[in-house]
């Protein structure tokens, strides 16, 4: 194999897209490692603390696209304190020094400051695409820097970030010479936006395909924008608040009639039911429809819209997300197992589901498993923690067991409801390809967690909250964690002693204790081994311990 001339290997490597394949290839021999590292263009770092940024830049000097993830997933639900970490700064600084040819940056759950954005904007002459997902720490000033200095910017995609509003001038910072935008998403911005500047920007960017507006954009402005850009493929409407007796409404219908390329719709922030009728002309062609930010749309109108969009394509439906409208209680409009069973019988191609509901039964889950064997992502959240099957009063072990047995390609699973150790036995036995498992308020004993750790060979992320798993489970097979990206355990039964033991045995892991109580200011040594750990985050790393951890994070 080593007789292969480098040019041939280089040529072969070009065909390798996936990170996994490339990672595997680079372990064959030094020659292949070298060829691979110099040819890798897309670099993905799943945990920003798993490796030091400088090492990444040194290994992949010709990188064009970098993707980094910061905080653990449960940070989405306020379980990780605000200043835990996940700073973008070291990454942007290292890239500015080591990879000035960088063209794309994607950050998820990280802290990004305006200074970071300014450095980014000034450091990469070929920069084309910035995607920030669930980040925080920056304001519209940072966006202004991006708009001003990134010549040739093609994509600015801000998804569900917390952005401080320092005014609307940022959009006007796109110079007149900027004509290259393909995708612009500022739906998460809370403040006003200069509508004139936006309309002019849209008018001079003929390649614009994806545009997601925020709530501040009026219907009149939306109309003008769509008139200028009828070739849009993906649209997030701004405020769709209008009375269907007005001129504006009729104009909007006509405008939508001309948008023949629209395949994806979202937004509808303030839309009342009558506004929806304006989009009926495009419904038949939709491949994606997101109404999750439109709580005002009620029953019949919702059904009509869905029927128009989905009815004929129902059998092709692949992904569905049903969010709770009423966090606090059921009411008469509670979503139950009936809805899920109905969907499963009509949509056999369903492969990705997120379903919040008031209750679920084993029978329903067994039916769903039979109807939809192609699930790769299955996330079920019964709103009341630990709720049993209401018909039989039994745990939901058998239901979820049916899911993991039937869905052989399941990669992601979230459990809820009343569950015993048995469900974990089933998961360990059958969920061969499971990569991510989220558990809450489930299990009886350490055995549950051990079944999962022993059985799921491809497990990468395990996140657990409020389960009776303790040190025995944690320490049963410590080498397992080296094969995983991370483990999160909060409000479980692990003790400081158990965590210390884990840290001692596995120097390749960072064992972080997040301690938010008053005691956090005291030294760790004052705590005995029996002290229960509130939040534990364990991850493999070649970067050593963190240097940026706040006081309340102890790294053992």
């Amino acid at each position: 194999m080593t007789y292969f001339p480098e040019e041939v290997v280089e040529h072969i490597v070009d065909f390798l897209g996936s990170h996994r394949d490339r990672n595997a290839m680079s372990t064959v021999c030094t020659a292949w490692y070298q060829v691979e590292r110099l040819s890798r263009r897309n670099v993905f770092v799943g945990n920003c603390y798993a490796i030091r940024p400088e090492r990444v830049m040194a290994r992949f000097p010709w990188m064009k696209s970098l993707s980094v993830k910061g905080k653990p997933h449960f940070a989405d639900f306020n379980l990780v304190p605000y200043d835990w970490g996940g700073f973008a700064q070291p990454w942007i600084e290292a890239a500015a020094r080591g990879c000035p040819g960088l063209e794309e940056l994607r950050l998820k759950r990280m802290v990004v400051t305006d200074d970071d954005l300014e450095l980014l904007a000034r450091s990469f002459p070929n920069f084309k695409s910035l995607v920030l997902v669930s980040c925080e720490g920056f304001s519209t000033d940072g966006l202004a820097a991006i708009a001003t200095y990134c010549r040739g910017l093609r994509e600015l995609d801000l998804q569900e970030n917390e952005v401080e509003d320092h005014g609307h001038q940022w959009l006007s910072c796109f110079p007149d010479s900027c004509t290259s935008l393909i995708s612009l998403n500022f739906a998460c911005l809370k403040g006003e936006v200069n509508a004139n500047a936006l309309e002019r920007l849209v008018a001079r960017c003929p390649d614009l395909r994806s545009l997601k507006l925020n709530r501040a954009i009026s219907v009149e402005s939306l109309n003008r924008i769509l008139t200028r850009a009828p070739h849009l493929v993906d649209l997030g409407t701004g405020s769709m608040m209008l009375n269907h007796h007005t001129e504006a409404y009729h104009r909007l219908i006509n405008t939508f009639l001309k948008c023949k390329s629209l395949r994806s719709l979202s937004g509808f922030c303030d839309a009342s039911s009558c506004c929806l009728q304006a989009v009926y002309p495009v419904c038949m062609n939709l491949t994606a429809l997101n109404l999750s930010y439109a709580p005002a749309i009620q029953g019949d109108d919702l059904i009509k819209l869905i029927c128009l969009s989905v009815a004929s394509a129902c059998k092709d439906l692949q992904e569905l997300r049903v969010f709770p409208s009423d966090i606090y209680g059921a009411g008469t409009a509670a979503v139950t197992e009936e809805g899920l069973v109905a969907i499963s019988s009509g949509c056999p191609k369903l492969n990705s589901l997120l379903y919040f509901c008031y209750q679920m039964t084993n029978t329903a889950l067994v039916t769903v498993a039979k109807n939809c064997p192609h699930f790769t992502r299955f996330r079920l959240c019964i709103l009341d923690p630990g709720k049993p099957d209401p018909v039989t009063n039994q745990p939901l072990d058998e239901g979820f067991g049916a899911i993991v047995r039937s869905c052989k390609n399941l990669r992601r699973l979230s459990l809820s409801g009343l569950l015993t150790d048995k469900v974990f036995l089933y998961i360990g036995m059958h969920a061969e390809h499971l990569e991510m498992l989220s558990i809450a308020f489930a299990g009886d004993s350490d055995k549950g967690m051990v079944y999962v750790l022993n059985g799921c060979k491809n497990l990468r992320k395990l996140e657990i909250r409020d389960c009776p798993f303790g040190d025995d489970a944690l320490l049963k097979d410590v080498t397992k964690y080296e094969t995983m990206r991370s483990l999160w355990m909060s409000s479980c039964d692990v003790t400081l002693g158990g965590c210390r033991a884990l840290a001692a045995k596995m120097p390749s892991l960072n064992v972080e204790i997040i301690n938010e109580s008053d005691e956090a200011n005291e030294f760790q040594e004052n705590f005995g081994d029996l002290h229960k750990v509130e939040k534990l985050y364990v991850y493999r790393t070649v970067g050593g311990g963190r240097t940026d951890a706040p006081d309340f994070v102890w790294i053992l």
């Binding site: 639900f77 306020n78 304190p81 709580p295 009620q298 923690p385």
Partner: protein, 171 residues
Amino acid sequence: MEDLDNLKATELTLGLPGIDAPEKPSPASATGSNKRSNEECCLPAAKKQVVGWPPVRSYRMNSIRVRKMEAEDSTGIYVKVGMDGAPYLRKVDLRVYKDYKELMEALNDMFKCFSLGGAEGHEESGYAITYEDKDGDWMLVGDVPWEMFISSCKRMRIMKGSEARGLSSST
């Protein structure tokens, strides 16, 4: 416990104020925390707010809460209106009218086919317009400010004859 309360007062949280998060949630227990928001009082006894549950992103949770509250403010308030002697009731959307005068005109219009006399003033024709409030009491329409009326009115009834005479106001 005192320290815990003080800590909570300064704790950063993205939830709405008044929503409490006990440190160690136990879903099966029926005990609740001492501090409860108005919304929580309406819950069945066993429910309590748990940190980070349901697992909905704060971003989404906040925007849905805010918008749902706004949406509820702007949807119609439909109340039944019955008239003594009329074979069927009607329904009106109180949001459509901006004051009592508009409401009266609309009701006159709706029920004129049933009235015996003209619709000049309800005293002369012997009718009084009443409404049932949130406490279940029957009140005369017109006493309280319009906004207060529409937020407390559950249903209306147009009374006639002897009952009406006693209630007629001297507007």
